[in-house]
């Protein structure tokens, strides 16, 4: 259209060892538009944007910005060209104040910090102008995730950026906070700024962007005006085939109560209340979803149920037996399985082989341990069995698990947990960070378990995942269950309000149970 686009990244290639992260991606961005970059995890969006903001240098390819070739050696140089990025994981130092964070890396290292006051008042001024409600002398550690994001965005504005890149900015936000963010982006564009918006959420892209490109396997496979496409087309482009948004399933036939949580309380690491008076039941043959924005007590709820953080009050009963107060190892011996939230942190042990990973909770139980000694043959047989049944792509069972892709790692974790033949399965984030093929596979396996009469609880921040397989969805907010919604996409607004802490008068929490 234009002879000279605002920004052109041409045939960008970048590889890390044997992994090709960017395989000749090309994009063009117009001045004053919101440009969305859509793609699955690992499609190469973040790598491309990290190149644009100077964190990574491309192996090949050219960037032309405002008509001149752009060669960046550091993010600082990007800022000098008025390009700035808000990262998915915030780049704020928790122990410092907002002002100190803004001053970080600015100017000569030998300069004194006497300018602090001037910086503070400039922050207040900008905060008022954009309505971001950022207080310059707050210590970042004490801010909520949403507040921290506003601090990040304001930091970019403070540095006088013309091209703003946001990497998955809505992942940690409530629907209402998301709305507010999208409004802000529209306002920035009106001021003449340009926005690149990375996401894998179709609806946001549809709502806010002017144009959209889809990335897959390190390449841009599709670019269009947003007004000329629809979510289904974008989704197809993302995965290379139609998404099975709705998995075939029969209506739930809940049986007896398997797991009952009553009036449960527990604290977080800092000793503050994290789970407040939660009561819920999970029956045979149903999948109960727990929806909520990250950080509302879901993690602590899951850890409390498995004995990993101490509870302060309440009860957790499995098949009528009290679990509260039992050690994690005692709970492991009950028919209670747990797919943890962060597999790298908890679910698997990266530098060990598959064999040693499949016995994680059963390392001291028969048949894997006989009189205190490990039976290597039994362990290897078990690992091979799981690999075969769950179609885990691994050369052998004695390869180290960190050589597997995220999807295959998650398959192995789910396989391991299901192999324990639990009555109750607690899943915290089933499909986080895995490819769409693995995603479908594990969702189907979980549904199969439901058909087999297992009681399943799925904690997720991905509403799509919850809608796809849950039978009912409870919403957690600030440590409380504040409502229940059926898995019906038409009730999305209602769900969003609940996730933002707005109770619905017609369905008060007290009557939910």
């Amino acid at each position: 259209m234009h002879v000279q686009p605002f920004l052109r990244m041409d045939n960008i290639r970048k590889r890390f060892g044997s992994v090709i992260a960017s395989a000749g991606a090309t994009i063009e961005v117009e001045e004053g538009e919101i440009y969305a970059l859509l793609g699955e995890n690992g499609a190469g969006k973040s790598v491309l944007m990290n190149i644009l903001c100077g964190i990574l240098t491309p192996d090949e390819g050219e960037i032309v910005f405002r008509g001149a070739p752009l060669r960046l050696g550091s993010p600082e140089q990007a800022v000098r060209h008025r390009i700035g990025m808000v990262h998915q994981h915030f780049m704020l130092v928790p122990s410092l104040t907002v002002t100190e964070n803004y001053m970080l890396g600015q100017g000569s290292p030998l300069r004194l910090l006497s300018r602090m006051r001037a910086v503070s008042s400039r922050i207040s001024e900008l905060s008022d102008r954009y309505g971001l409600d950022v207080r310059p002398d707050s210590v970042v550690r004490n801010l909520s995730v949403g507040e921290q994001q506003r601090v990040e965005i304001l930091k970019v504005l403070y540095h006088g950026i013309d091209l703003l890149i946001l990497d998955e900015p809505t992942a940690v936000l409530t629907p209402q906070e998301t709305d507010r963010l999208l409004d802000l982006l529209r306002g920035l564009v009106k001021e003449g700024k340009t926005v690149i918006f990375i996401s894998h959420k179709l609806d946001e892209v549809m709502r806010v962007s002017d144009r959209v490109s889809v990335m897959r396997d390190g390449r841009v496979v599709f670019t269009t005006k947003t007004s000329e496409t629809d979510p289904r087309e974008l989704a197809r482009m993302m995965v290379g085939r139609d998404v099975l948004m709705d998995l075939p399933r029969t209506a739930a036939q809940p049986g007896r109560v398997v797991l009952a949580v009553t009036n449960l309380h527990c604290n977080n690491e800092l000793g503050l209340p994290a789970v407040r008076d939660i009561s819920l039941e999970v029956r045979q043959g149903e999948i109960v979803g727990i929806a909520g924005v990250s950080g509302n007590g879901q993690s602590e709820l899951a850890l409390a149920m498995t004995g990993l953080v101490p509870t302060t009050a309440g009860s957790i009963k499995l098949n009528g037996e009290e679990l509260r107060g039992l050690s994690p190892s005692a709970i492991n011996r009950r028919p209670f399985a747990h797919v943890p939230e962060d597999r790298h942190k908890m679910g698997i042990v990266l530098p060990l082989p598959l064999t040693e990973n499949v016995i994680l909770q059963r390392y001291n139980q028969a048949p894997f341990s006989v009189r205190g000694l490990l039976d290597l043959n039994a362990i290897a047989d078990h690992a091979r069995d799981l690999v075969r049944r769950f179609k885990v792509k691994a050369r052998d069972v004695d390869v180290l698990i960190h050589t597997l892709s995220g999807g295959n790692q998650q398959k192995l974790v789910v396989a391991r947990e299901l192999a324990r033949r639990p009555d109750f399965l607690l899943i915290n984030q089933l499909t986080r960070g895995i490819d769409i093929g693995a995603m479908e596979f594990v969702m189907q396996e979980v549904l199969k378990e439901r058909e087999a009469g297992k009681a399943i609880m799925l904690i997720s921040t991905e509403l799509e995942e919850l809608f796809a397989i849950c039978d009912r969805i409870l919403v957690i907010y600030e440590g409380r269950i504040i409502g229940e919604v059926p898995p019906d996409r038409s009730r999305l607004d209602e769900l969003g309000l609940l996730m933002a802490g707005k109770r619905i008068d017609t369905a008060p929490a007290a009557t939910l149970m």
């Binding site: 044997s18 994690p328 492991n332 747990h338 082989p353 909770q361 341990s369 000694l373 043959n377």
Partner: protein
């Protein structure tokens, strides 16, 4: 700390099978190449230092190696030196695998020596074998307890074991000094040393007309047992999981505290046992400076073996060769014996350098 937790081959059966003999050998070669190169680099650095300061490095090393392997007697002396290094080293393998930085093996060695001496000079009249057993068990127990202090402080108060074990080293050394000038001092004599153990409780010797005692055999056997513990037992599995990822350990139902205490106590018991053997097998009495730094040297022994107890047998012997050799260098060429510290330091640096580089190149990229 993943750089020290590269596991050994788990599929032992496949190595034994004839078909994969070649694969096993190449795996063995891959495992042993870095430490071998590390040692060569360290010796090279030592040689450069010698050359710069005006010595004939090559001749000195030749004399050293020839001397150490001159005859049965000198080999036995070398193995005698290797015994405490192997014992302490295999204990440190367990602690390091659990990511516990036990810098206190030196103090645990002293604690073991003191307890062994106490039991050695007391309880006269016990049958010889029972008395020897008592001495060794007392040494191991004292070492374990001394280490467990640091372990308890870690699990109860989250006190860094690095600092506490270093402090406990000093305390153990002062305690020994007090004992040999006070309660354990040989009565009627003026020297700061304990009474001499009776010949009945000396460790039996394995090579006639040398001082090499059964400690070396016990050390090798214990190395095998510790290997089985670490890689073939469920408790050892728990220790390793705690060392790599304590969150995963808790998720697996492993008691992190118990594993830490177990690992550091095993580590301490090996150092204590080494101290007891030094008393019952070599010096036969307690002195103020009973260890010339075995506890620190053994850190290098464990590291060079990649925290594999079977490997520690070989690295322990290697360091004993260096030690014995450095004495020969001193006798024959007046090379200051402290050169051996420099070589040890260089070995450690080369080993961790290799491990870190290997880990970096093996790391998957996103």
């Amino acid at each position: 700390m993943a750089d020290i937790n590269i596991p050994p081959p788990t599929n032992a059966t496949s190595i034994l099978a004839g078909a994969s003999l070649r694969a096993g050998l190449s795996r063995l070669a891959k495992a042993t190449a870095p430490p071998v190169v590390a040692v060569l680099l360290a010796l090279l650095a030592g040689a450069v230092l010698l050359a710069v300061t005006g010595f004939y490095a090559f001749d000195i090393f030749t004399v050293m190696v020839n001397g150490v392997f001159q005859d049965v007697g000198s080999i036995a002396e070398m193995l005698l030196r290797a015994t405490p290094l192997i014992l302490i080293g295999i204990g440190l393998c367990v602690a390091f695998r659990c990511s516990i930085w036990n810098i206190g093996a030196e103090g645990q060695f002293y604690a073991g020596s003191c307890a062994a001496t106490f039991c050695g000079v007391q309880f006269a009249g016990l049958p010889s074998w029972a008395h020897i057993l008592l001495i060794l068990v007392a040494g191991a127990a004292a070492g374990a307890l001394w280490a467990a202090i640091a372990g308890l402080l870690k699990v109860l108060f989250n006190a860094s074991e690095i600092v506490t074990t270093i402090m406990l080293n000093y305390i153990a050394i002062f305690m020994t000094s007090y004992l040999v000038t006070g309660p354990l001092m040989e009565s009627g004599a003026a020297y700061p040393q304990s009474a001499k153990l009776l010949r009945e409780v000396w460790l039996p010797r394995v090579v006639p007309s040398t001082r090499l005692h059964i400690g070396i055999l016990i050390a090798v056997a214990l190395a095998m047992i510790i290997y089985v513990f670490l890689f073939r037992s469920s408790a050892g599995y728990a220790v390793r999981i705690v060392g790599i990822n304590s969150h995963a350990a808790r998720y697996a139902g492993i008691s992190v505290r118990r594993s830490i205490l177990l690992a550091i106590s095993i580590s301490g018991s090996m150092a204590g046992l080494a101290g007891a053997m030094q008393i019952a097998g070599v010096t036969h009495r307690l002195y103020q400076d009973i260890s010339p730094g075995y506890g620190f040297e053994a850190i290098a022994v464990a590291l060079l073996a990649n925290n594999n107890p079977v490997g520690a047998i070989f690295s322990g012997i290697l360091f004993a060769v260096l030690d014995s050799g450095s004495e020969l260098m001193q006798i024959n060429a007046q090379v200051p014996q402290v050169l051996v510290f420099i070589i040890q330091g260089m070995v450690i640096l080369s080993v961790v350098g290799f491990a870190a580089l290997k880990f970096q190149s093996a790391r998957p990229q996103e």
